[in-house]
Amino acid sequence: MADDNEDIILADLSDDELVLQMHDDLYDGLKEEIEDGVHILLGRDWTPYDVLTKALVAGMTIVGADFRDGILFVPEVLLAANAMKGGMFILKPLLAETGAPRMGKMVIGTVKGDIHDIGKNLVGMMMEGAGFEVRDLGINNSVEKYLAAIEEEQPDILGMSALLTTTMPYMKVVIDTLKEKGMRDDYIVMVGGAPLNEEFSKAIGADAYCRDAAVAVETAKSFMLRKHNAMNA
């Protein structure tokens, strides 16, 4: 069937046009197009870091904003994140080789007793989309599992998710254990999940409640900025 729109040949676009087109393709969740775009930019001698930040991260920022504003919903965001992953798969080894600057590292997981991972996965994907390194512990994580991963990864951020009122109090168990071990202040603790709110996050001693994946990314970025400023001060 003929398409109303003319076919766009990615390789024929100028750098600026191609980047804008990639933002659109991310928005539409077109994985192959994103992979093509990444290869084309790399072929034009773009650094992997520039491809990541200007094409992919900037594109996912638009997706994140529209998700936050209730214009996009989970299915669209999952498709966009999947397209992003396609691009990241190409860039990841190159980024490591070129010693590109790091945004930060996050360990994330759903708490013990809770098998919900839709929101948690979205946060993980959007964080990767924002250039963060993410270690995803999956679902049903005991305090021991969180601690082992923290030990191993030395992340900047610990993210915990819960969808049930029956499981959300477990976040406090994890935070209290970090406190007991004198490790609490070494990490930024962000929590999220449908039944949570700001007040709950404060009551259990987390650093931030993140309403959705887009807010999680914004929050993580601002905490990392503060951390860098504090280190440079």
Binding site: G70, L78, P195, N197, F200, I204
Partner: protein, 354 residues
Amino acid sequence: MAKGGTRARDPTKGKPMSTDLLSKLLAKNDWLLADGATGTNLFNMGLSSGEPPEMWNVEQPDNIRKLYKGAVDAGSDLFLTNSFGGNASRLKLHGFQDRVHELNRVAASLGREIADAAGRPVVVAGSVGPTGEIMVPVGPLTHALAVEMFHEQAEGLKAGGADVLWMETISAPEEYRAAAEAAALAGMPWCGTMSFDTAGRTMMGVTSAAMVEMVEKLPNAPIAFGANCGVGVSDLMRTVLGFVAQGTSRSIIAKGNAGIPKYHDGHIHYDGTPDLMADYAVLARDAGVRIIGGCCGTMPEHLRAMRHALETRPKGGIPTLDAITSALGGFSSASDGTGDTSGDPKRERRGRRG
């Protein structure tokens, strides 16, 4: 068993759908009071965080009886069984995926016991929650597997004597349809509510209007449909008005949370008062809701206040959005997501590759 004599009719088999207890009660009453929270009540009885509540059906059956009886004694005409997470996908987490039938059967049979002792007709509604997985095309769960899991759970609830299946807190239309198909396979009447918690829509982007359209297209439409959980009762009432605006003749269900969760000394406490829930119940009835209940945080004292208000306050017209916010508080988002031409992004397209 006597041979050749007339067989007594087994009341649990081969019932035509129109004679189920819920339909009968709906035919006789303007509204029915459903129950409140399951999780919040069980927590107060000592359920600890991370434990699967469904195990209490067999390990602490007296607590489950107490849960059901709490609703019945507070005036509920219908209560949900303790089986929300009783599908194979959810129970697998605890290694109990082989006990789906048993845990659901016991959840329903304990309910049957309490309902039959109530001295008035009380509906045992077999709670069926989401699988927690994302369905194709965006996720890995296939329609066939979802139907199989819901069907397995439905058969357990049916064997335990549930009057009706009650799907709740569903976000994805694909999952709602799979649950509907499972109800048909089990030969059970059913109800199904979705949770509208994201800018007026479900997490998967379904609006109130889209839900009505989906429900009416099902080959086996539910007895009643509606909204549960979500973000407080104001948002839930706005969703209800969205259903009403579609001109549906099907019975509507409203089960809103009693406020928002707050944390006190290791426990979750919802901040909605019985008075707030009473106001909500009356507004829901005035909007045309036929089955009115609570969700998280709704305790027997809330249900009592709701019943009292429904029985004593005069019926008014369909409330306006302003009447809702002035009685129940503000909305969590500016719009309920309807009114857009579609879920399409409001960005200018740059054109598509062919």
